[in-house]
């Protein structure tokens, strides 16, 4: 719309412009601009100013404290001019953050990859065929996302410890149960995202592949997968962040050597407070480091965020 009116304006003879006959166009633009303005200007400005301050101040405080020596944070000497990067150096040796990071990458990465693979496989028949129970299946996919985490934690823990005793295999503390658990959220989420995407991909595409002699699996892998790559990436990212952000399951299913970044940080905070030497500065630098990748990923995938929200996000 804006582009069209600009083009029109260029088409106006210069004489007409200088004589002020372009005002109908201007006015049209104003109507449009006004239409976008849902509230009085002063109110919009006030709301933006207040909310930006309220959001930025605690975040700024977190970053500032991450560069402030531990003792100064505990004493609250905010004005200290002794900003230092030592927190960012010492936190790696004071808490097993590097190990936690590696564990998180392994756990969240595998569970996201498995979730997307399973989801892609399921999204194909769900969008390509009409069969009895299809709608029920889709409803189930949404329904399971409302099951609260604590409802799943206890029985999974009971099953894993039972399997551990009965089959005498080591389970709790290994990667396996935690990867499986994160698929609880990853599979419905990625299936739903991929169903939504594949629905908009014309069927002619995979039908052509079938005519050319591809199997269904081949059509999915060779034709639809490349087309659906954006949705695959988004599903992977959302499933990955489930593992990155979780504390509930990881605090039960992991041990010293398999703990995720979130747990490493949580224990670091708990132990440092119980020993009476709170390392708040290092805690904040670790907090910055563990949120920065997530914030960057989200800013990149901003456009898809609403889609992921509607598909059921689990930030709790």
């Amino acid at each position: 719309m804006a582009r069209a009116s600009a083009a029109l304006e260029v088409a106006q003879p210069v004489a007409a412009r200088s004589s002020g006959r372009h005002w109908p166009l201007r006015r049209r633009k104003n109507v449009q601009g006004e239409a976008e303005m849902l509230m009085p200007l002063w109110l919009s400005r006030l709301v933006v100013a207040v909310t930006v301050v309220v959001v930025v101040v605690p975040l700024g405080y977190m970053v500032l404290m991450s560069f402030t020596p531990n003792n100064d944070v505990a004493l609250g000497t905010i004005s200290s001019a002794v900003l230092t990067v030592s927190n960012y150096v010492h936190m790696w040796s004071d808490a097993p953050l590097a190990q936690g990071l590696v564990n998180t990458l392994i756990i969240a990465g595998s569970s996201a990859a498995l979730s997307v693979a399973v989801g892609l496989l399921a999204a194909y028949p769900l969008t390509r065929f009409v069969f009895r129970g299809r709608r029920g299946y889709l409803y189930t996919l949404i329904g399971v996302q409302t099951v609260p985490g604590t409802t799943l934690l206890l029985p999974l823990f009971a099953v894993f410890s039972w399997a551990q005793t009965t089959l005498s295999v080591h389970m709790i503390g290994t990667y396996f149960p935690i990867i499986l658990t994160y698929m609880t959220f990853g599979v419905p989420l990625s299936t739903w995202l991929l169903v939504a995407y594949l629905r908009s991909v014309p069927r002619e595409l995979d039908e052509a592949a079938l005519v050319d002699g591809c199997s269904h699996l081949g059509a999915l892998w060779r034709v639809l997968f490349p087309v659906a790559l954006p949705a695959v990436v988004v599903a992977f990212v959302f499933a990955f962040l489930v593992g990155w952000n979780d504390v509930l399951f990881a605090s039960v299913f992991t041990n010293q050597s398999t703990q995720t970044l979130a747990i490493a940080l949580e224990r670091f905070s708990a132990t440092s407070e119980s020993t009476g030497l709170p390392v708040y500065g290092e805690l904040m630098s670790a907090a910055v480091v563990s949120s920065l990748p997530v914030v960057i990923i989200y800013l990149i995938f901003q456009r898809y965020l609403v889609h992921g929200l509607a598909a059921g996000s689990t930030t709790g």
Partner: protein, 314 residues
């Protein structure tokens, strides 16, 4: 195409053909996953809630003695190690999720309306708005722990500096803990409503704004008769989802406070968690989980209905 192999039964050939032509087997991994890690655990939770399962019977929980509704009675009548009963936790959870939704809805709507208009720096403002929501909850909780420190934290500094309090409030223990958690949750989650409202606004056809502007509708009239009706659906969904998610809040209460957390923040997930992994009473913990599920059935059902699958997928 080559005709059926000699000797193969017709039904087998038909099955094989169906397998090839309609590969519903591709649903198998997802179905198994959903069954094994969601539906079966839900059934087991219900079963566990009827058994007397504690630390000595957990590993052989299948053989634990049947306990009937005793776990439920105990949950409501006997305080756990946390010193609270189930009734209290239900109350805190309700208060927390409803209050959060009630407060963040107007904030989210106002901000979405404010940045709907184009202005210089809008992209930056929108990016800033995303940050509190996308920062991992455990990071928000750790930061809140430092921000709410007694005396030396940012909140006490500001309140003390303004003379509202003496700057020596205990936020992380005692009765103020609930409000510290509530404020933190509001700070972290209002962008959810904002994002949903924004999505709803984008779905309103441009012509509707323009038509109402040309017809001389004032801002208030337009808001009342054009925008709000168009947004009603998405807002209802957003409020429902917000209530649903905040009811399951665990991480904030778990990470923000010491262990065990203060009474005021003992929401249902915290109660279930501590009953199981601190008190080792899995039966009571399962009973709490079952009650959580029962409470969430109604909003969950409303959510399913509002997704309007029928229209979208038919």
């Amino acid at each position: 195409m080559a005709g059926r192999p000699r000797g193969a039964a017709p039904w087998l050939v038909a099955a094989a053909r169906r397998w090839r032509d309609r590969p519903l087997w591709m649903l198998l991994p997802a179905t198994v996953a959903l069954l094994v890690i969601v539906l079966v655990p839900v059934v087991i939770t219900i079963w566990l809630s009827l058994l007397n399962v504690n630390v000595s019977t957990l590993r052989q929980w299948l053989g634990a003695p049947f306990y009937g509704i005793h776990n439920f009675i105990n949950a409501f009548t006997q305080p756990s190690t946390l010193g609270v009963t189930l009734g209290w936790s239900i109350f805190v959870s309700f208060a927390f999720s409803l209050l959060t939704t009630v407060v963040i809805t107007p904030i989210g709507m106002l901000t979405a309306f404010s940045v709907h208009r184009r202005f210089r720096g809008r992209g930056v403002v929108r990016a800033i708005y995303l940050i509190p929501y996308v920062v991992p909850t455990f990071v928000t909780a750790l930061t809140a722990r430092v921000v709410f420190l007694n005396g030396s934290g940012l909140v006490d500094k500001i309140l003390g500096g303004l003379g509202i309090t003496n700057g020596q409030t205990y936020w992380l223990i005692g009765p103020n803990a609930y409000w510290a958690m509530q404020l933190t949750e509001i700070w972290a989650t209002w962008p959810f409503i904002y994002l949903m409202t924004l999505a709803g606004l984008q779905a309103v056809p441009k012509e509707h704004y323009e038509a109402s502007a040309l017809d001389g509708a004032g801002k208030f009239q337009r808001m009342r008769y054009v925008i709000v009706p168009e947004l009603a659906g998405v807002l209802k969904l957003a409020m429902l989802l917000s209530t649903l998610f905040h009811f399951g809040n665990f991480t904030l209460a778990f990470v923000m406070f010491g262990s065990p957390p203060p009474t005021g923040v003992e929401v249902l997930p915290i109660a279930a968690y501590y009953n199981a992994f601190d008190f080792f009473n899995y039966g009571v913990a399962s009973a709490i989980a079952v009650i959580t599920m029962v409470i969430l059935i109604i909003p969950g059902y409303l959510y399913l209905r509002s997704t309007r699958l029928a229209g979208e997928l038919a």
